[in-house]
């Protein structure tokens, strides 16, 4: 997979390191000459110095052959134009823009560009983690429309000792994996939840609270 990332800073550096370690081919586009030199030294990625919203620079970065373009500059207008140029002019199949202003995430989607807002993601993570101490991990996927949550079942839980088929879960929720004594199981109706089990849940933001309540007995 070939990924083109436009932007800079620590986010770009760590993202790029993550992608290259997975074996992706990464090209970075950055305006700042000094930062480009630094990045080229630190990472095994091709670095192109220039304005990512300039079609010629995108072409130099190999946009024609890219599978995905990620625009994470601090300027929303640049991120929008980069993604539009990449998809309209170079036919890049997947483009994603960072919306620095959280309101722009919705705006970009309406303009046909996939977008995410770190403020939204981090904000909902903090809110939802802080609301319940049994939550170990929470990951919004599908542009924040689906939550993947990992929780611990404690002895006070109303579902502790119950078989899955006897648990009354709200609609559109799924117990995807149960980790019992460190061993992950994709559960069936006859599996029993026990205190100390870790459960990976799939929920929607609208039923997240009720599902957690059904499994832990507490209301957020």
């Amino acid at each position: 997979m070939k990924v083109l990332i436009v932007g800079g800073g620590k986010t770009l550096y760590f993202l790029c390191r993550n992608f290259t370690s997975k074996g992706y081919e990464v090209v970075i586009i950055n305006r700042n000459k000094e930062e480009c030199v630094q990045l080229a030294r630190q990472l095994s990625a091709v670095v192109v110095c220039g304005d990512g919203s300039d079609a010629d620079i995108l072409k130099d970065g190999g946009a024609m052959a890219a599978d995905a373009v990620l625009a994470i500059t601090p300027n929303d207008q640049d991120n929008l134009v980069i993604c539009q140029l990449a998809s309209l002019r170079f036919g890049v199949p997947r483009t994603v823009a960072l919306a620095n202003d959280p309101d722009n995430a919705e705006v970009f989607e309406k303009l046909g560009v996939s977008a995410f807002s770190t403020t939204h993601i981090v904000g909902s993570l903090i809110e939802q983690c802080a609301s319940l101490e049994q939550i170990i991990n929470l990951l919004p996927v599908g542009e924040g429309r689906v939550n993947v949550t990992e929780i611990v079942i404690d002895a006070d839980s109303p579902v502790s000792g119950k078989q899955l088929k006897d648990i009354d879960l709200p609609e559109n929720a799924l117990i995807a994996v149960v980790i019992h004594n460190g061993r992950p199981i994709v559960p069936r109706g006859t599996n029993e939840l026990q205190a100390g089990d870790r459960v990976v849940l799939i929920t929607l933001p609208e039923n997240h609270g009720p599902v957690l309540k059904a499994l832990t007995g507490e209301m957020k």
């Binding site: 207008q77 539009q84 202003d101 705006v107």
Partner: protein, 146 residues
Amino acid sequence: MKNNRYIVIVGCGRLGSHLANQLSRAGNSVVVIDRDEATFSNLSPDFSGFRIDGDATQIAVLKEAKLKMADILFATTHDDNVNLMVVQVARKIFQVPHVLARVFDPKREEVYAQLGIDTICPTTVAAEMLFRAVDRAAAEKKGEQP
């Protein structure tokens, strides 16, 4: 041109302020948005419209300018990408009937024509006029020496 329209102008530089002054003088309701308050000094003393000090890439600022009611939006900042973003938001989200962006880079202009966004590129306009002037000069010279 009717002179009772509601017109929003983004960018109060030389072009933006010129448009704002003329359109306001002609009797239109004009709102000017610029990130830099100092640029409002470009507006003439008889400018009777509103000034908004804010970043037009933030939808909250466009709402403050009551963009929903606007008949026309001109995006005239020095940043092509700001102009392109603002006109798209104005057209697709606020349903402004007429939007126009100034875009300096001719390559960007082509792409946005595909999206149905009207742009004016000063670079190509100036180049065309210069070519025409060259042709005219050549024709006159031919006329002198038959």
